[in-house]
Amino acid sequence: MDKQRRKFLKIAGVTALAGIGAPALIRLTSSTALASEHGAAESHAAEAVHGAPVPAAPPGVRLGMVIDMRKFSEQPEMLDNAIAACNDAHNIPQFDNRKSEIKWIWKAPFENVFPTESSYHLAKNVEKADFAVLCNHCDDPPCVRACPTQATFKVKANGIVAMDYHRCIGCRFCMAACPYGARSFNWQDPRPYIKKYNKDFPSRMRGVVEKCNFCGERLALGQEPACVEACKGTGAMVFGDLNDAQSEIRQVLDKEFTIQRNAELGTKPSVFYIV
């Protein structure tokens, strides 16, 4: 049962990324299947020319996100919309106590999101800004390493760090292992606390861990992640294949200076911030 489900997820991911029946995603990853290898080869060549000690890009698709905080400070309500879109899409329960909170994407100040960066005399606009916080879908995820049942795993086809809610035993080792505080645990039955039930996405049971899934289920249908869609047209959130030199996200990354959360821990996060 579990194996079949996982297999389906993998296949769905691959099909979506290959652009089959996925018009909306064609823009994102139109030439993914072919271009990623091509792109990777190209970047290897570039490294060789410059002799820069850049680690070799892993093969295949690696989905990532750029969060442009300049855009969010222009339209602060946009982040609320993005969070609401995620909450609605994923049946995220709303508890009024901090203890039981379930969060996939949420807001936090710079000093909390980047505790290892200096917050001393921070630019006023950055100090006041609310940063979007979500799972970093690390290329080397400590949570996957720690999980004793492979209930959390990296999807080979696209690099998403996914969860199997039916296999999770609720030991919460992944929560201790995650250096980003991205994981939530269902301390009680979440269903009574779901405001608007979306029947297209499973709700969870008590006693399992959950987190952002980069909208794997929407990607499979050729849609963008819910939060990215909520910011459509603004460039506040750019989503795509980090290994594809032609992708929109790579164009942004090639041009802009970005930072990553706790990059010094070697987890290779796939979420980038333009401050």
């Binding site: 909390n112 999101v113 996957v144 720690a146 004793p148 049942t149 929560m175």
Partner: protein, 390 residues
């Protein structure tokens, strides 16, 4: 030999009933938790492990401590421990039973526990912990039972058992090393991310385990007419002293690294434990009284141990210092070490953890179960001992 548990003085039955009462409370509390979820505990999104995992961590140490009797007796042929080695092995069994119960109590989906076996994951330290804990439990049951049976029949134990006895020694070290590795390999949890965690765990284990055995021996001397012998007790005190000193040394090294380097990540949890952390105008210092109690008890016990009259002539003072060191190490590892690792959280926020009554009920219930197991096992061991003497 099991029949020995069925005959006893009234005090024995009253003690069992007393433990049974706590066990019943534990079962009732667990039923509530099972039906509602772990939301009945004080754990939160930020402090995602609480009393259950911290007790587990401490008790793995108590179990490993048994090796401090097995090793001198079997490897160095230290005959003085002949009478009490079985107590170390049986204590290890009870401690591991408690460990496994605490793990089960902590699982969000306990019915899926076998997924750890069905989907083995060699990258996870919990996978190895499962192997070594169950292995050590099995080894202690096997060795304890076979050797005690041989002793009862007054014959030499079969040769093959020594393979398992020697195997249990690296297993004892490995259970606590792997338990330390659950913590010390996690990026971003600076308090735990220290190579000295495993040696520190072992040092405190080799003090806490033998301290509990001395306490048990003093009780058995009074209630069961079982004398471990002066020399054995003295040797155990020496072991406890060295281990407790090493543990203290390791903790102080952590304090030095944190404060001298002045790196916030290395300092914050220690600051939180001993002085409290101020954050946005609020002082978070729940654990401060506990940690200072631990420090005072630790040094107090070391002082008493160092005083020859207290450790050799006065059994009350000897028992007291063992109780003191046991409580000190329990606070240090069974409370502070696990809770402080989550403070501050990865987003530099602070949530404090306060266990709920229901959680305490389950915890006491599991401790009572452990004491029940050790009582029954010691009853058998002492019963066999008396049988031989007759």
């Amino acid at each position: 030999m099991i029949e020995k548990t069925l005959k006893g003085k009234p005090a024995y039955w009253i003690w069992l009933a007393f433990l049974g009462m706590f066990m019943a409370v534990g079962v009732a509390c667990y039923a509530r938790q099972y039906l509602f979820g772990l939301g009945l505990t004080g754990m939160s999104r930020d402090v995602s492990w609480g009393l259950y995992i911290s007790q587990f961590t401490f008790l793995v140490g108590v179990a490993a401590g048994g090796v401090m009797l097995v090793l001198p007796y079997y490897v160095h042929n230290y005959k003085v421990f002949g009478k009490i080695t079985i107590l170390g092995e049986f204590l290890a069994i009870a401690a591991i039973v408690m460990c496994l119960l605490f793990i089960m109590a902590d699982l969000g989906q306990p019915l899926r526990a076998l997924n750890v076996v069905l989907h083995p994951t060699p990258s996870s330290m919990l996978f190895y912990d499962m192997i070594v804990l169950n292995g050590y439990l099995f080894l202690n049951i096997l060795c304890g039972w076979v050797i005690l049976t041989a002793e009862r029949k007054q014959v030499h134990p079969p040769k093959w058992i020594y393979f398992f006895v020697y195997l249990s020694i690296p297993f004892a070290v490995s259970i606590h090393t792997v338990t330390a590795m659950l913590y010390c390999g996690l990026p971003g949890r600076h308090f735990w991310l220290s190579a000295i965690i495993a040696p520190r765990f072992l040092a405190s284990a080799f003090a806490a385990g033998p301290a509990l055995i001395i306490i048990a021996c003093l009780i058995l001397k009074r209630v069961a007419n079982f004398d471990a012998g002066k020399e054995a007790m003295n040797k155990l005190v020496t072991i406890i002293m060295y281990a407790a000193l090493l543990n203290t040394f390791f903790v102080l090294l952590e304090v030095f690294v944190g404060y001298y380097s002045n790196i916030p990540g290395h300092k914050h949890s220690i600051q939180y434990l001993f002085f409290g952390l101020e954050h946005h105008g609020h002082m978070y210092n729940n654990l401060v009284p506990f940690m200072w109690t631990s420090a005072v008890l630790n040094f107090g016990a070391l002082g008493l141990f160092a005083w020859p009259y207290a450790r050799k002539k006065n059994e009350f003072l000897l028992g007291l210092s063992c109780v003191m060191i046991f409580i000190a190490l329990w606070i240090d590892k069974g409370l502070g070490f696990v809770f402080a690792g989550f403070v501050p959280n990865p987003l530099d926020e602070i949530t404090e953890y306060i266990p709920t009554a229901n959680e305490l009920g389950i915890t006491l219930g599991i401790w009572a179960t452990g004491f029940l197991v050790v009582t029954l096992l010691y009853k058998i061991a002492v019963g066999v001992e008396h049988e031989i003497e007759q």
